[in-house]
């Protein structure tokens, strides 16, 4: 198989994993207009919690996968109760500064807890390689690619078909009107934070076994995921999938055929173009002035 096909597969894998990380941001940002730079912490923490669950507590990878997602979800709820609800509705700059600081605190806490040495999560798939039609892919990444589709699909169904989802959609469309109609913000907020943090923690334990786990990935992960959400359109999960794929494929092709070391330039140029041509995002609806 030719290089182009391999690069397209690399790009699709990168894009889908980005879409999965962006899922949590989409839920939270879409609902509360809350910029959370600490969101990447759930992704990195998912990886480190998996190491503890597997090597210290002796769990197998699949049990750890579920447990880590739940732990990250609970942590999201705790942060919501203790910190985020206190600044809800205030100047967005406050949330940006606060969560930026929080990201640094979490990063250093992780470093002090697990040590500075880069770590490896050994899953049953991470050391296996899949080779088909001349294409190569780490089996863990193939799992992450398929898993991302499944998780995003399930969360979309949850939002589209359940009462919880109906309330989330109502609040996303008109926060105050939904409140007046009896939607309890605190309960819903806890649920959304649980879901957002759990899916991001899940992304960490699904994706990171294919890479190397380091503490320094929190802010870059959050910023890249924000780019995906903005390009895709706030509140649209499938918009994030398209945006993630667009970003993954573009960076992969630029690195393959133009110049390497261009990931950030490509991604943020796409963001600028998207904001210029379609500020509401690919799947977002234009709001009348």
């Amino acid at each position: 198989m030719d290089v182009l096909t391999q690069q397209l597969l690399n790009g699709a894998t990168t894009g889908m994993t980005l879409a999965l990380i962006a899922l949590g941001i989409n839920l939270i940002f879409g609902l509360f207009n809350f910029v959370n730079f600490a969101h990447g912490a759930f992704y990195v923490l998912g990886g480190y919690l998996a190491i503890t669950a597997m090597s210290s507590l002796g769990m197998n990878y699949w049990v750890a996968l579920v447990l880590v997602a739940i732990c990250c979800g609970l942590l999201g709820m705790v942060l919501d109760f203790t910190i985020f609800q206190r600044i809800l509705g205030r100047d967005p700059n406050e949330s940006m500064i606060l969560t930026f600081g929080l990201a640094l605190v979490i990063e250093e806490t992780i470093r002090l807890t697990w040590g500075p040495t880069p770590r490896n999560i050994r899953s049953p798939l991470s050391e296996e390689r899949v080779s088909f039609l001349g294409l190569y892919l780490n089996a863990q990444l193939l799992f992450a690619l398929i898993g991302s589709f499944v998780v995003i699909g399930l969360i979309s169904l949850l939002i589209a078909r359940t009462t919880f989802g109906l309330r989330v959609r109502a609040m996303t469309q008109d926060f105050e009107m939904a409140q007046l109609n009896g939607v309890r913000v605190k309960n819903l907020s806890a649920g959304v934070w649980f879901l957002g943090a759990a899916t991001t923690g899940l992304a960490g334990i699904m994706i990171l076994p294919a890479f190397t786990l380091e503490t320094s990935g929190i802010l870059p992960t959050a910023v890249m995921a924000f780019a995906v959400v903005i390009i895709g359109g706030l509140g649209s999960m499938w918009g994030s999938v398209v945006a993630g794929l667009l970003l993954g494929l573009s960076t992969s092709l630029v690195e393959a055929y133009l110049a390497t070391g261009m990931t950030d330039i490509t991604a943020y140029s796409l963001l600028l173009i998207a904001l210029w041509l379609r500020p509401q995002g690919l799947a977002g609806k234009k709001v009348a002035a």
Partner: protein, 374 residues
């Protein structure tokens, strides 16, 4: 940031050592190894220091890998802590930022940055506590070309002064030995996803791939090269790729034939001295794993400082330390005999380590820079 030592006073015979390395961020792991090396040296030589009435104090400042932070960290060490010598920074960019400040303060600064521009700047307080890049490049390329038969080489390098200089040296070293660097691929610091780079490299079908990066980042490159189908026996990495991290991340079965550069290996007969054995035991007790390049470099830089201090009869201060440190007297270290060249660069002999089928690394090639021999 933190301090430890044998005495808290600032007496005339107190040696104050400032360490300015990236304690947080991506290079934190190698910093921990390096600091453990310095502390092991101070512990091993405590008796000699006590005999000469010298107490020591180590103050560690985090430069965060950022030039502006490195400058303020240096100023704090110089003005508030009044150190007699500074060890660091690690990154060449930070060294370039700090050296003019060091010259103004008159404090000897033992950098680990390997960029050639550091030695060319004419700074009177500059001491390089490790070999310049050409030494590790020639060590690996000599073995890879002569013994590994690598004729077409791809270099994957970090887009920094460190990585760019390794790339340029590799092109020259390969050419001198009748081989060719057929492609150089740069990546930005902080990159985690190397899938495209790995595919591009695999498609080039080279005899060998040399990774010129630092810490976990370069191990990520290696992991993704293996996932892309590049054989482990075609992969080599310079000293910024720590063997401890390689062994943490790459499974034993996937390391067969891989080449790494190291300043220290306890398997080399030449390094089986009593001092080296004691170093390995002490370091392992302190750090929980065997010393590799950065642990050994930390120890050697500790030895440099201790040797200098032991040679001072009067007051230990920044001036006497600068004079003593720049005395070109070869000394026996855990890395073998090391020499301070005229350019104030330490010339450290280096090893190529090769992994076998069981995933164990053994030294296969030893290289001494011609300048050190002369």
């Amino acid at each position: 940031m933190s301090a430890c030592g044998t005495d808290s006073g600032n007496s005339a015979r107190e040696l104050r050592i400032g360490i300015l390395w990236p304690v947080s961020g991506a290079s934190a792991a190698i910093t921990a190894d390096f600091v453990a090396g310095v502390e092991t040296a101070l512990a091993d030589y405590k008796e000699q220091l006590d005999d000469r009435g010298i107490s020591t104090k180590v103050i560690i400042e985090d430069d965060q890998g950022t030039p502006s932070v490195a400058i303020s960290g240096f100023q704090k060490l110089a003005n508030k802590d009044q150190v007699d010598v500074v060890v660091g920074p690690l990154n060449s960019n930070n060294c370039l930022a700090v050296l003019p400040v060091a010259d103004r303060a008159g404090i000897a600064t033992i950098v680990t940055g390997t960029a050639p521009s550091l030695a060319e700047g004419g700074w009177k307080t500059f001491v390089r506590g490790t070999s310049p890049n050409r030494v590790q490049v020639n060590t690996l390329v000599e073995y890879a070309v002569n013994d590994g038969g690598w004729k077409n080489i791809v270099v994957i390098h970090q887009e920094t002064e460190y990585g760019d200089d390794l790339r340029d040296n590799t092109i020259t070293a390969a050419k001198e030995r009748g081989a060719e660097v057929v492609e150089t691929i740069a990546y930005a610091p902080g990159t985690t996803n190397f899938l495209s780079i790995a595919t591009k490299t695999k498609n080039r079908n080279p005899d060998g791939v040399i990774v010129a990066g630092l810490g976990g980042e370069s191990v990520s490159v290696i992991k993704q090269l293996l996932d892309a189908g590049v054989a482990s026996s075609k992969i080599g990495a310079y000293g910024g790729t720590d063997a401890n991290v390689v062994e943490e991340v790459i499974p034993a079965k996937d390391r067969d034939g891989m080449l790494l550069i190291s300043g220290f290996t306890d398997k080399a007969a030449e390094l089986q001295t009593d001092d080296a054995k004691a170093f390995v035991a002490d370091y392992q007790a302190r750090r929980g794993h065997k010393p590799q390049l950065y642990g050994a470099i930390g120890y050697v830089q500790g030895q440099m400082i201790i040797n200098a201090a032991l040679g001072i009869d009067g007051e230990i201060d920044k001036k006497s330390m600068l004079d003593a440190l720049t005395t070109r007297k070869p000394f026996q270290s855990v890395l073998g005999e090391v020499v301070l060249a005229d350019s104030n660069e330490l010339l450290v002999p280096l090893w190529v380590q090769k992994y076998d089928k069981a995933g164990e690394a053994s030294p296969v090639h030893f290289y001494v820079d011609p300048a050190a021999k002369s």
